[in-house]
């Protein structure tokens, strides 16, 4: 999904009524936001964090120093790893790591829903829709987390809802 469209989704999910206009820069189509009172902002996660503050929802950036650093780490992961390479192998490796990370976590920071969950959900959507039932089961923790986020109020919007089967079909595969 183009970055500008993703930011528009984010605006809606944050409850920001007046939509911003975004331009795109360079061949990677990096989004640029022209702010009213100052220089423009460039970059998906930079603008996303700005929007969160605009919506007075700073808690989405984390509450403690630890949480804040973790949120930014996963935002960086999103733009470097998820957006960076998208060969099948890269995605498999990424899902494997994420799956083991989420083993003991509800959200990326642990127990609190943050911007990192939203942007990772948007970024992974195009890959998750393509997973087979068996793969979804293989990356069970990712599936649980993803399903959770897509049902979080106001996040999914027009994106297609990915179906996850509750009972396990391939119990032998583990």
């Amino acid at each position: 999904m183009a970055a500008a469209a993703e930011l528009t989704l984010l605006e809606k999910s944050l409850g920001l009524s007046k939509g911003n206009k975004y331009s795109a820069q360079g061949e990677r189509q990096i989004p640029v936001l022209q702010t009213n009172n100052g220089p423009s902002l460039t970059g998906l996660t930079t603008i996303a964090a700005h929007l969160v503050k605009q919506a007075n929802k700073e808690y989405l950036l984390g509450s403690t120093a630890e949480e804040k650093a973790i949120v930014q780490q996963w935002l960086e992961y999103r733009v470097t790893r998820v957006d960076g390479h998208s060969s099948k192998d890269d995605i498999r490796a990424l899902l494997k790591d994420l799956n083991s990370y989420l083993e003991d976590k509800v959200y990326l920071t642990g127990y609190n829903f943050t911007l990192a969950d939203i942007l990772l959900y948007y970024g992974l959507h195009r890959f998750i829709v393509d997973l087979t039932v068996q793969e979804k089961e293989k990356y069970l923790n990712v599936s649980r987390w993803f399903c959770h986020i897509q049902h979080y109020p106001g996040i999914r919007q027009h994106l297609s809802s990915v179906v996850f089967i509750k009972n396990r079909l391939y119990t032998n595969s583990h």
């Binding site: 989704l9 061949e27 930079t46 630890e66 790591d97």
Partner: protein
């Protein structure tokens, strides 16, 4: 908390420097682990540095660790810092890891290392100087400074990789480096071994992915839209109103062109192409076309301009070629000189002189310079071991010997290089050497040769460079190359060869020898001028009055920036030396290189057979000019740029502006009553025009082309917003408004035609004929936007300027010229279908959207039936959706429609950078006949 680091891991630098911030806030243990140790349980790949937090979670991102330390010290996050850190992760790191990999793991040097990061370094420099703050995010040092400093330190601590011209970056880097925490971190990590301390770690890392699918970017950086002050607007309006009265008289044409005291005298040369090769697109953009743009621009500025070039005709390669084709060297030169001249004529290169080096003037001037050097003691004599064929009774130049390669055993290795393993060879090292002519075995004999004593001239050269370089427009790569040669120290260079086809050496005992091309090729510029006018010395012995611009590819820099200046300084005859040395990087072909032997790439004589006009070639080559970094020619990109930038943007605007004058105002430019919006547009166009001038004065040819396209985009928007085709049918006030908009638009079109002249001379002339632009306005470009088509001016017949390039046409050209052939076969089928259909589909859809958009616009303009309009709008929206899908934009459609294949457009990366064994030449090699072996191997 616990920090895991590893010996030589570059990420340790910023982390250790930032750790000082957290001192006293938390207890920090530091453990050193091996580079392949997996510290983070959930990550498959090893990663250091890593911070294990007290709650058990891990920070594995270097920036996140630094951020955490800063947060602990009470620092608050801000947008600007976030932006720098995101840029660091997405832009700087990929470039930097490539550069470090080249430098540390592959042992490369110079431009190979600096090339990948130059753009990022320039970005930092510009940001610092634009904000005029000492630090990245404000007045004090902060997180962004530490993270970027830590990333850059391993590279920039070597002054060779901190370009001098980036002054703001320079002082920022020095300031941050001198902070105590940074100094300590640097000592800990690099251990005073410099960048080599990173080797043990980097060697164990996989090759950076930025290197694998390295796509060379052709997109320049975006510029922010400027804000205008009231004064700027007022000045633009005043200049506009003066109109044609502002123009000075046209300079009358001169023949011959000679310098004039008190004027700006610009002497332009482009590297002399070696006569026996047909030039390819890389050669053309590298020298003759780039120089042509500047020459045309210089004339538009009314500077007194002489542009010269010619073929470089002496040397072994010509003799070899002559033997192959059964002709004499002179016949070969005559034949190929004509081929070159034809190609450049077709490309519309505006030489004042296109000469050649095989003339009596060349002999006279070369011998004179030699005699002066000889009598002043700058020439040495020495004995050289060489192969001699007793049968043919002559010493054999490198290319006249063949034999078995001493390295790989290949049987047909040449005397200078093996075609199989690519290694450079000394002819005397060949096993079983054979004379290429008679096939007998040559013997090693010693032969007397002359050497130019460069070490003796080095001091003079350095003094000259010190006076010339500061404030000049030498390109950064040229400065870099010269600096690295001087750093290594100059050595005496052999200037004679045992050949017949060359300038004879005027010295007793050397009657059988000629000057080697690298001594006399650059003297060719002088002799070519001497053949043009007997007053050539007014150009070439007149450094006070003449500015000399020399254009070339970067492999030619040492000849022009070092060897010729040394000869000229030693000759002590007040020669004009290069003031601005303009060197390009390499142009690649599709994802590979131009290769004559493999028939890959487009060569000058073939360009005309493609049916694509010369101006389109010029436009695209200049649009991708390898300025500051390598770039690549791509057929698909050429199609897209032609159809989007030329057809839809520039052509569309100029055509509409002219059509409105013809259709609505009977061909007469209407009265213009400027509103404040119009005045703002005037000022914006003026600003962009001034930007164009600033760029071209610095010979930034590619960037200046963007200004033209920006102005025409402004123009299109202006027409779109003001809708003159509607207002013309409205009230009196509406009609007047339509007149103003049309009048202003057609004047912008006139301005564009002049700005376009250096780039697309034929198109420029066509527009000027269509608009009947008065002659002085065609030949002069001022720094202000003038009203050159006043109310009442009658224009000519307007017709479309550009033709669409079709997919099948481009596809068949791609097949014909071998682009991407090898790549397709080695790639899995999936990737192929995506790349093959993607751009085509998009192009088809884009066209349909444009077409449908026009239908809707017309219906609306005609105030057609609402239902009919609604139906056409629905069609348009549907097409736009399909286009969005094909471009991989969000699927904002009902689910049923999203069956076009998902994921819609995976970026295809990882193209195979396989290395074929045969030698390959990159874009722009060897215009002056190649280096002597000893020079190449340095």
């Amino acid at each position: 908390m616990r920090l895991f680091v590893s010996e030589g891991a570059p990420g340790s630098l910023p982390v250790l420097a930032a750790a000082r911030r957290a001192q006293g806030r938390a207890e920090l243990l530091i453990s050193t682990v091996g580079p392949e140790e997996c510290v983070v349980p959930f990550l498959t790949q090893p990663k250091v540095p890593v911070l294990q937090l007290d709650n058990g979670n891990y920070l594995f991102s270097t920036s996140a660790i630094c951020r955490y330390f800063f947060l602990l010290s009470g620092w608050e996050q801000d947008d600007l810092t976030n932006q720098w850190l995101e840029w660091e992760a997405t832009e700087l790191q990929p470039a930097l890891s490539a550069a470090l990999y080249y430098l540390v793991v592959q042992g490369k040097k110079g431009e190979d290392v600096l090339g990948p990061v130059r753009r990022a370094l320039t970005h930092i420099d510009h940001s610092l100087s634009r904000r005029s703050c000492p630090f990245l995010a404000g007045e004090t040092e902060s997180l962004a400074d530490i993270v970027l400093w830590g990333a850059l330190y391993p590279l920039l601590q070597d002054p060779a990789y901190l370009p001098e011209e980036l002054g703001a970056l320079h002082s920022w880097f020095q300031t941050v480096s001198s902070q105590e925490p940074c100094q300590r971190a640097a000592e800990t990590v690099l251990k005073q071994q410099g960048v080599l301390a990173l080797r043990p770690y980097l060697q164990k890392q996989p090759q950076p992915s930025s290197l694998q699918g390295r796509a060379v970017s052709n997109e320049p950086e975006e510029e922010e839209l400027a804000t205008l002050s009231e004064e700027e607007i007022a000045m633009a309006v005043t200049a506009w109103e003066k109109g044609l009265g502002n123009l000075p008289p046209l300079r009358p044409p001169q023949n011959p062109v000679l310098p004039v005291a008190g004027e700006r005298n610009v002497l332009i040369t482009s590297a002399l192409p070696y006569v026996n090769n047909v030039p390819h697109l890389g050669n053309i953009i590298g020298c003759v076309l780039s120089a042509d743009v500047f020459a045309r621009y210089s004339r538009l500025r009314q500077w007194n301009t002489l542009y010269l070039c010619g073929t470089d005709e002496y040397g072994t390669a010509t003799e070899t070629k002559a033997m192959e084709e059964g002709l004499t060297p002179q016949e070969i030169c005559d034949k190929y000189h004509a081929i070159h001249a034809d190609i450049y004529r077709w490309f519309n290169i505006s030489f004042d002189i296109f000469g050649r080096t095989t003339t009596p003037q060349q002999t006279k001037i070369t011998q004179d310079i030699f005699q002066r050097l000889f009598s002043r003691g700058f020439v040495l004599q020495d004995t050289v071991e060489q192969l001699r064929c007793e049968q043919c009774a002559r010493f054999l130049a490198d290319r006249f010997v063949e034999g078995v390669c001493p390295f790989c055993g290949y049987e047909e290795a040449r005397g200078d290089q093996c075609d199989k393993c690519g290694k450079l060879i000394n002819a005397t090292e060949l096993k079983k050497p054979q004379c290429k002519v008679c096939r007998s075995c040559p013997v090693v004999k010693s032969s007397q040769h002359l050497f130019l004593d460069l070490p003796k001239l080095e001091k003079r050269l350095e003094e000259w460079l010190e006076n010339t370089l500061p404030g000049s427009d030498w390109t950064p790569n040229a400065r870099f190359i010269i600096r690295s040669w001087l750093r290594d120290g100059l050595k005496p260079r052999c200037i004679t060869r045992d050949l017949k086809w060359g300038t004879p050496v005027p010295l007793e005992g050397f009657e059988d020898k000629v000057f080697y091309v690298w001594f006399d090729a650059t003297i060719g510029y002088l002799s070519i001028t001497a053949n043009y006018t007997d007053q050539w010395e007014r150009w070439w012995k007149n450094p006070e009055q003449v500015s000399l611009y020399q254009f070339m590819a970067k492999d030619n820099v040492p000849f022009h920036g070092l060897v010729f200046p040394c000869s000229a300084l030693g000759a002590e005859d007040n020669y004009t030396l290069v003031s601005h040395l303009i060197a390009t990087e390499y142009l690649n072909y599709e994802d590979g290189k131009f290769s004559k032997s493999r028939g890959v790439g487009v060569f000058g004589d073939m360009a005309q057979d493609t049916g694509i006009p010369a101006d389109i070639w010029r436009f695209y080559l200049l649009y991708i000019r390898p300025e500051g970094q390598d770039s690549a020619f791509s057929w698909t990109d050429m199609l897209l740029k032609n159809n989007s930038e030329l057809l839809n943007n520039l052509g569309n605007f100029i055509n509409r502006a002219g059509m409105f004058v013809s259709k609505f105002f009977g061909g007469y430019v209407p009265e213009m009553v400027l509103t404040s919006d119009d005045q703002r547009l005037l000022a914006h166009v003026t600003l962009e025009l001034q930007h164009y001038h600033q760029l071209l004065e610095k010979v930034r040819i590619r960037d200046a082309l963007r200004s033209i396209l920006t102005i025409s985009r402004h123009g299109n928007q202006y027409i779109q917003v003001n809708e003159p085709w509607k207002r013309i049918k409205g009230s009196e006030a509406d009609r007047q408004r339509a007149g103003t908009v049309t009048g202003l638009a057609v004047n912008i079109a006139a301005l564009l035609s002049v700005m376009l002249q250096p780039y697309m001379p034929t198109v420029s002339a066509t527009i000027q004929a269509q608009l009947q632009l008065p002659p002085p306005a065609c030949g002069i470009l001022l720094t202000n936007f003038l009203c050159t088509l006043p109310a009442g001016h009658l224009i000519g017949t307007v017709s479309p300027l550009f033709q669409k390039l079709e997919n099948d046409q481009i596809e068949s050209l791609r097949q014909r010229f071998g682009g991407g052939q090898a790549k397709v076969s080695s790639k899995p089928a999936v990737g192929e279908t995506v790349t093959a259909t993607g751009p085509q589909q998009i192009q088809v859809l884009m066209d349909e959207v444009t077409k449908q958009g026009n239908i809707v616009r017309e219906l609306k303009a005609q105030k057609a039936d609402k239902n009919q309009v609604a139906a056409e709008v629905a069609k348009l929206l549907d097409l736009k959706k399909q286009l969005a899908l094909a471009e991989g934009k969000p699927l904002e459609t009902p689910k049923g429609l999203s069956s076009l294949g998902s994921p819609p457009c995976l970026p295809v990366c990882g193209t195979s950078l396989s290395s074929p064994v045969e030698p390959q030449f990159r874009g722009l090699q060897g215009q002056t006949g190649g280096w002597p072996d000893a020079m190449v191997t340095r």
